[in-house]
Symmetry: C2
Subunit: 136 residues, 2 copies
Amino acid sequence: MMMQTCICMVVGVVLLTLGSAVSLPANNHIIENQVKELQDMGCKPVMQKVLVVDLLDETDDLIEMLYFYPQAVAVRRCVEDCSFCGNNHGKIKGRCVASSREEKTFVVTYYENTSPPTKHQRTMTTVEHTQCGCRT
Amino acid sequence: MMMQTCICMVVGVVLLTLGSAVSLPANNHIIENQVKELQDMGCKPVMQKVLVVDLLDETDDLIEMLYFYPQAVAVRRCVEDCSFCGNNHGKIKGRCVASSREEKTFVVTYYENTSPPTKHQRTMTTVEHTQCGCRT
């Protein structure tokens, strides 16, 4: 009986030790993977949809046009929510901001509100971020 | 002299005709590329950085901890600004929203404000979007 109790205690201690020894490194491995996922996001331009209407002044007559398209343009931008600036522990250090820009030119077709509607095209520009960097 | 003027006029007319004939299809080609860039964005989950602090209740004691990490977690989400729901002309039709979700589990290490600080780990969850769809 004494022997059995002793064996049970030893087995118990061994299992507990193994348990804590295994669970912490397992969690550490999980955290490492989490940080890797953050680091894979990096800090680089990502494609964003920009609405043409948001690029117009309030006074722009394009707003009153019957119809224009494309209604949006895909532009590379540095986006904080799509980026990670931080260290190997997942501590955030700084924000991902544009370090280099250029103008992106695009064309919009629109129809003037005449009868019949007359088709026009306009060349427009917006800022594209060509490089991003972590700024602390 | 008459002959030269005539040739100049003919050349001029030909160039003008060629010019307009070339410029409109060229613009149409530019617009096609613009729409292709929008369509390439599609409507699918993209990696987003979510701050752990934004996932906590105001009453959560983790906020008062000395230090915790990772401070963020990368989660797949359907993001309107990273997506395009529309037709071949670049007309927007609907929004890109989650059509399928699952819980993402992650681990946060934190140090309790004792002397010396004691290390703990907490398993947390947040919603991950596994599929997105255009909803009109």
